[in-house]
């Protein structure tokens, strides 16, 4: 499958309400431009992100998934981001083991004051995904 003309990567980002969603808001209020590749889903906490959400996004058309939460120690719910880190570490390794580029899943810590960081993360990830191209493995229609 060749990459279609004009293809742009699509990132589904799960942002925790207290830090990262606010960080993305700050990028907006500070007018820090970043690629239009990202689509944000607001969750209360990065610990709310079920690894199956990640695979579902990759299956349905996302080229990368970002999970963003409060820095360790700053979680609004104390520990949610630490559970998320474990689950997603394992998720990422399992994805790689099953043949999906691990770079497609990223977990990062963005605080409410890090608008610039949020923009930078999106830029970096977009660049990585542009190199990788679309998820080819999970896009075939019909029975295998």
């Amino acid at each position: 499958m060749s990459v279609r003309e004009g293809w742009r990567p699509k990132i589904v980002a799960f942002c925790c309400n207290w830090c990262s969603y606010a960080g993305a808001d700050l990028a907006g209020t500070s007018r820090i431009p970043y690629p239009a590749s990202v689509r944000i889903i607001r969750v209360p906490c990065s610990g709310r992100v079920n690894p199956v959400f990640v695979v579902r996004a990759l299956q349905r058309g996302a080229d990368g998934v970002l999970v963003a939460g409060c820095h360790p120690g700053d979680c609004h719910y104390s520990t949610g981001n630490l559970y998320a880190r474990r689950r997603l570490l394992v998720t990422r390794r399992l994805l790689a083991y099953m043949g999906i580029e691990p770079e497609r899943l990223r977990l990062c810590w963005v605080s409410a004051s890090e608008g610039e960081r949020f923009a930078k993360v999106i830029e970096e990830m977009t660049a990585v995904l542009e190199k990788l191209g679309p998820v080819q493995q999970l896009r075939e229609e019909g029975p295998p």
């Binding site: 695979v55 474990r86 394992v90 099953m98 043949g99 999906i100 580029e101 990062c108 493995q137």
Partner: protein, 320 residues
């Protein structure tokens, strides 16, 4: 010393007579298929003779213990290492009440692939009893020697728990020795990890094409004991009914993740799979990561806490 079926019978009878248990779960011969042993429960001391303990007792018992004790039945279980760990998985998952099981540990010499023995050496089934000679099973009194190298069940090759752990009582029978075939449990995992990514996907894709999604792996698994499996649910539809590469991926991904840090490595899933899907390679990958990432020692031994239900402040952060 023989393989001591009488000792097993005697103990089972004693447990029933002393009313320590209501029934004893073990294995019995199949009347029609000589190579087959199926799980069997006896409720009367007089019927313990129906139980059999020989190299063909392939099926795992843990998941059956779960169903049988649900109504409060007190069950004695002839438990090899894998069965005992499976039962403990269910105990830690609060699916079996500890007081409802009495684990009769059976040191295990490894089980034979009955079908292969039947094909190559049907007269082996005439034996009256068996002895464990380390590298061979030896039939009594016929003296037929079955080399383990040739006949060991796949699931027993990588077994590290021939000695039953965490049992109420361990029977003094032959077996339970170190498994010489288990040098590196993660060999297949390592091999796959070293493949280039596209070939890794191709490997799994080949199996996705064969997988029937019959859920036999789930049905036998002691770690898959949910009241309602999320993969069966329609709302939310975690897994669509349509069978394609992507949904097969999600199925096997979800199953592996749900048993991550919980799998007891009994190998029943792969034994039950009609197409021979290498489920063990997924399960052991999770085990290996539990060890590598979180320092979990013996990740196949059930603990009260699960690695994925815990965290450490200094967990690795390898997302950069």
């Amino acid at each position: 010393m023989s393989w001591a079926l009488p000792a097993v019978d005697a103990l089972a009878a004693r447990l029933l007579e002393d009313r320590l248990v209501d029934a004893v779960l073990g294995w019995a011969r199949d009347p029609d298929l000589p190579w087959q042993r199926y799980p069997h429960r006896v409720d009367e001391p007089s019927r313990v003779g129906e139980l059999v303990w020989d190299p063909f007792c392939a099926p795992g018992l843990a998941k059956l213990v779960f169903r049988m004790t649900e109504g409060g039945l007190k069950l004695g279980v002839l438990a090899r290492g894998c069965d005992a760990l499976g039962v403990w998985r269910l105990i830690h998952d609060r699916r079996i009440a500890r007081e409802n099981v009495y684990l009769l540990g059976l040191p295990c010499p490894g089980m034979a692939d009955g079908v292969r023995v039947w094909e190559e050496c049907p007269e082996a089934f005439d034996a009256a009893g068996w002895e464990d000679h380390g590298s061979h099973w030896v039939a009594v009194p016929t003296g037929i020697r079955l080399p383990k190298e040739r006949f060991l069940l796949d699931k027993c090759l990588q077994c590290q728990v021939r000695w039953p752990r965490q049992c109420d009582e361990v029977l003094a029978v032959q077996g339970g020795s170190w498994n010489p075939f288990c040098e590196d449990r993660y060999r297949q995992v390592r091999q796959l990890e070293e493949l280039p990514l596209p070939q890794r996907f191709d490997f799994w894709r080949g199996w996705f094409e064969r997988c029937l999604r019959c859920f036999a792996c789930r049905q036998v698994c002691p770690a898959c004991n949910c009241e309602s499996c999320s993969l069966d649910q329609f709302e939310p539809n975690w897994l669509e009914r349509e069978v394609g590469v992507a949904t097969q991926f999600i199925f096997h991904f979800t199953r592996a993740l749900h048993v991550a840090g919980r799998c007891v490595d009994c190998g029943e899933c792969q034994r039950a799979c009609p197409v021979g899907f290498p489920l063990g390679a997924l399960n052991r990958k999770m085990m290996k990561d539990m060890e590598d990432l979180f320092g979990v020692r013996e990740p196949f031994v059930p603990q009260e806490s699960e690695p994925l239900g815990e965290f450490a402040l200094d967990d690795p952060d390898e997302f950069r």
